[in-house]
Symmetry: C2
Subunit: 238 residues, 2 copies
DNA sequence: GGAATCTCTTGATCTAAATCAAATACCGTG
DNA sequence: CACGGTATTTGATTTAGATCAAGAGATTCC
């Protein structure tokens, strides 16, 4: 698990300079950080780390997409959140855990950097802005989760699915002709695991929306054609 | 809002020495911290701070109970979490927010200390262990919320209510003859807002459990008589 | 290129829990 | 202690969405 390989080529400083946790750092500092990193490419659907296991490393998603999931005793899977490109993940130490609290699986082919967890305290102490920016990310994720709890408690399935899709296109939308496409493969099943419903209901919903011209979808692909109308469905005021 | 008054009597150091964020500090440091604090008593059901408002202060619950809630555009209320005695709350700065992300309301008569938010960075920098312990709390809350998302997505109402009650008695249970009582007033409505259901369903559930001798309840009071059997209801394995 | 495997769609049925509707119990207070 | 406001209980009805069931396309793999 969480195997780490040394890079074949030297990683370039420019990879990190624009990412919030590193934005205040000098080229020398970034060099330092990169020299301690391992990089690895993952195929789609590969586990990066698993819930409950010793949190030996922390990660940065350089490219691709990662899904954070939890699995119930009954074997049902729930998708807790998606990590967009450029963010840290598996940062158990930052929250006082010593095992990973959830499982991370690539949702598309991905490039991941990682460092041994014992460097965490170093990074926090040594690098200006690293902690602050990291906790900002944590804060955002917490807010998102909070919103999900509220949604699950108060909204109907249709609204929840609309919210989930909008969240995805905001985070990962890729402009295509006449719409915005979620730029990694996503199944009806996935969407149901994000919204606490079944693949059947998601399928029906998407079919209905497709008839109304709101979205267009194919196998593992969803394109939103009329984002604004989807927003209306979520019941947002204003 | 969030009015703060100077204490009438000098606060005693012993108030903080046992609380995790302060446990590593010397008496002198704790004195320093207390001297900058304002303390205030709140009646039950009073708003301590409100979602969206400027996060001017951060808080420590010295005694009593605080509920963190969010209110939907439609006016529905969702209880995100309960703050147990001894914990920090309203720590927006720690997560990079500058407004409070939710509303805090006392669930019982409470005593609250507070400090101006601009001291936050000082505290983190100056006091050993303060940041670490605080983020541990954040981590725990995050884990809890995560669990709630999983519950809401996969469990039936009966299980969710059982979980919510068990969580409450774990955090705040007070031993009474033959059982454990939730030691602040809690209505069926409150429980429904914690589990995303209706007060009617909660009432029916509690009635049924009462018939089976699992719980005993009165107006705003719930006592768990057979905790273990409630645990079984949640569907926990093992 | 055909078999096996995923993924998606759609109809029919069922059910948990919401909603609707009243009645009842409880509590503080003037 | 009677009154008004809050909580709670319980029955009847409705419904959103799960479950059951079956097929049809895609994709991958021999």
């Amino acid at each position: 698990m969480t195997a780490a390989r040394k890079p074949y080529v030297r990683l370039d400083e420019s990879l990190l300079t624009d990412l919030p946790p590193f934005s205040k750092l000098s080229a020398r500092e970034i060099r330092e950080i990169l020299d301690q990193a391992s990089s690895r490419r993952y195929d789609e659907g590969v586990t990066v780390f698993e819930e409950g296991f010793d949190a030996g490393r922390f990660f940065l998603l350089l490219d691709g997409y990662v899904r954070v999931v939890r699995i119930t005793p009954e074997g049902e899977q729930v998708i807790a959140l998606h990590i967009p490109t450029g963010q840290l993940f598996g940062i158990a130490k930052a929250l006082g855990h010593d095992t990973y609290p959830a499982t991370a699986i690539t949702a598309a082919e991905s490039i991941v950097l990682s460092w041994p967890m014992h460097l965490w305290d170093d990074f926090v102490a040594r690098y200006d802005g690293f902690a602050t920016e990291t906790y900002k990310t944590v804060g955002t994720r917490m807010k998102d989760m909070n919103n999900r709890v509220v949604e699950m408690a108060t909204q109907q399935v249709e609204q929840r699915i609309a919210c989930a899709i909008l969240r995805l296109i905001n985070q990962t939308g890729r402009k295509v002709d006449g719409g915005i496409e979620i730029d990694f493969p996503i199944t009806r099943q996935d969407l149901s695991e994000m919204t606490g419903t079944t693949l059947h209901t998601v399928s029906r919903m998407l079919s209905a929306w497709e008839k109304q011209g709101l979205v267009s979808s194919a196998r593992k692909r969803i394109t939103v054609l009329k984002a604004h109308e989807l927003v209306l469905l979520t019941g947002a005021r204003g």
